[in-house]
Amino acid sequence: MPENMSISVNGQSQVPPGFRFHPTEEELLQYYLRKKVSYEKIDLDVIRDVDLNKLEPWDIQERCKIGTTPQNDWYFFSHKDKKYPTGTRTNRATAAGFWKATGRDKVIYSNCRRIGMRKTLVFYKGRAPHGQKSDWIMHEYRLDDNIVETNVSNAMGEGTQEEGWVVCRIFKKKNHHKTLDSPISSSLTAETRNLMFSSSNEGALEQILEYMGRNCKEDSEANNGTRFLRPIETAISSGYPDSFMKLPSLESPNSTSSQNCYQPMMTGNEGSITNQLSGDPNSVYHNDSGLTNWAALDRLVASQLNGQTETSRQLACFNDHNMAYCSPTDHHDLQLPALRSSSISSGRSYHGTHQDYNSEIDLWSFTRSSSSSLSSSDPLCHVVNASV
């Protein structure tokens, strides 16, 4: 029977009914991309090469069909070689639009070992800066063979690996929980819906804001720290999205400054530093449900905004359980360094709160310009900010 099971993308035979190409991120990187970069033959031509500048997402969808079964996502190899004339950034413009990176890159682990990075991009129709955002999303995976553990800027995944083969997955953002595979009729209860689709949805930002608002208020009552929270509360209570602009930008305004922020002090700890800085700190929440993910995000956002003991506990937890961030279940891309570095500009105003809250460690100890106050017993002493 196995001879009937072979597949061929362009040939006559096809994937047997019920089977789908649904690789894990690990398979994409460790099997497919690794073979690709080492010019090894890949048995079946499942993942094709695509010139990202020549094909629109809807063309890729056509070109990267596997068999005749319905697909929700499409896979291809792409070679990053074209740059914008003005810099080092990869040119991902097509005739009809361009791919724009969003968020922060996510570290991909395999058996507790870092193997690569994932970049998320969105397709915009038209030309920057007037592009119109589409529902097309791309995850671009790159191998990370030579992690220079002493080079933290590398670990941040910035400014490196801008050449060579990557493996990509494109899909259309689901807007109303509609999926190709399991159309859920309206007869389903909300509970069933949730258990079947626990992933994020359109209401994500609203949910975050709601949680942020609630938590900020709680914190302000508890700590009497209203002077630091007022801008946030105002922003939230006066409505979304315009007032959201008043929040500190989550995007790092300057990637070089964020790289400079992390210089290992204790050379013996480089491995763990890399993990701490580049790893997803939220993997400690590996048992969390979708709901508590929000709570986790909530806590992190809140601690970012008022830098207090909650954070110290979380950070201490990282130090106590080194294995925690080896968990492959990264629930979301929330990266502590990303959040922290994004607030360098606003960080100064929080320095005062450090004393106010009387906490031995806080998130903002990352941003303090002087390392002298950090004793060697401080679990965070190997990370200081040199640039602020």
Binding site: M1, P2, N4, M5, I7, V15, P16, P17, G18, F19, R20, F21, H22, P23, T24, Y31, T69, N72, D73, Y84, T90, R92, F98, K100, T102, G103, T120, A128, G131, K133, I137, R169, K173, K174, D181, S182, S185, S187, T192, L195, S198, S200, A204, L205, I208, P241, M245, L250, E251, S289, G290, L291, N293, W294, L297, T329, D330, H331, H332, D333
Partner: protein
Amino acid sequence: MGDNNVNLPPGFRFYPTDEELVVHFLQRKAALLPCHPDVIPDLDLYPYDPWELNGKALAEGNQWYFYSRRTQNRNTSNGYWKPMGIDEPVVNSSSKKVGMKKYFLFYIGEGPAGIKTNWIMQEYRLSDCDSSSSRSSKRRAHSKIDHSKWVVCRVYERSSDDDDDGTELSCLDEVFLSLDDLDEISLPN
């Protein structure tokens, strides 16, 4: 057992659509046609607790697939399956109803005082109209097993784990995406 007899490269998994389960697997089973690939085992009345399915049913990820006879008695050695009251039609690509999908929840203990678990079963059955043709030859159907009484089941443990396999946007990606809308300057990156 499992997909071991299916020689596919890494990354291929048994993720059938509802339509495929009904049209390809259940209809062929009921019609005594060979299934290629013949990956779903037949557990007959399957008196197994859901956690006993491993090694018996086709396992893919956290889901188990098997054929069963249709029955009202959904008791196992340690509990029972109770209908969740959700019945939804399964339609094919031309929107024709080909089957029904029924949800069950597993309870430990004896009904009705059993303890809820997170185990869920989706039972797919053929539409009743499919068996109408066999009614014309009632006598023959009587003497033989009525194969339209087969169901195909998918069992999984409800998990609140939001495992990010990359096929959806993470929560934070969504946030960043929303923040991108507010960017005045959007440069291709």
